[in-house]
């Protein structure tokens, strides 16, 4: 079974600085998707960025980028020019598309990001 590990329960960053959130996963599959979701205090789950495992190029979305290391099974999120609105819980998630029976998101335990002015 696949697992997702986020080893940093909490992180903090100064406004305008850069922070990196770590995520590792375990799988025997070769084709899968990885996601980072943001959950602000409102509890809404907001997609930040996604990465297809078959793509070598790291995904980027404005100030958010990932460092995807397939061999190492690592998927870290880098937030550049941090803003106060980035403060939230961040979840790393894995999705298998091998079959409908395995089609679900497996989440890490989350990293709470604080942003200081």
């Amino acid at each position: 079974a696949q697992t997702v590990t986020q080893s940093q329960p909490e992180m903090s960053v100064q406004e305008a600085e850069t922070v990196t959130l770590s995520c590792t996963y375990d799988t025997s599959e070769s084709d899968y998707y990885l996601f980072w979701y943001k959950q602000p205090p409102s509890r809404q789950m907001i997609l930040v960025i996604r990465q297809e495992a078959y793509k070598q190029q790291n995904a980027t979305e404005n100030r958010f980028s990932v460092n995807f290391q397939k061999a190492a099974k690592s998927f870290s999120l880098k937030i550049s020019d941090s803003q106060l609105g980035d403060a939230a819980m961040y979840f790393c998630a894995y999705r298998s598309l091998r079959s409908y029976n395995t089609d679900k998101l497996i989440f890490g335990t989350g990293t709470r990001l604080q942003v200081f002015p």
């Binding site: 998707y33 809404q44 409908y100 089609d103 998101l105 335990t109 989350g110």
Partner: protein, 115 residues
């Protein structure tokens, strides 16, 4: 337009009661899910449906009964509520091998408190 909407957003009820949460998606997706987020913020899948057919039932007590009248709707009925059922329940949807990159989209969550 809200892509995945669920009602009610907040629900406080007594132990032993029966309650339902409704979910609708207007994205044309063929797969819908229920996830539970516990008090420690841990998120775990409960059920998935594809075109109204139950696919995943992740060892959830049979007091929880999902129903999908059509592929745009997935409701969750909970019988004989217990204190441990207090959580945030998220509905979600996706379309496999779609242009959206196989993203799973979430509703805003339904906060259930059992007293």
């Amino acid at each position: 337009d809200t892509a995945v909407s669920q009602t009610p957003k907040y629900l406080v009820t007594q132990m032993g009661n029966d309650k339902s949460i409704k979910c609708e998606q207007n994205l044309g997706h063929d797969t819908m899910y229920w996830y539970k987020q516990d008090s420690k913020k841990f998120l775990k899948i409960m059920f998935s449906y594809n075109n109204k057919e139950l696919i995943i039932n992740e060892t959830v007590p049979n007091r929880f009964s999902p129903k999908s009248p059509d592929k745009a709707h997935l409701n969750l009925h909970i019988n004989s509520l217990e204190l441990g059922d207090s959580a945030v329940y998220f509905c979600a949807s996706s379309q496999r091998y779609s242009l959206s990159g196989n993203t799973i989209y979430f509703g805003e969550g339904s906060w259930l408190t059992v007293v």
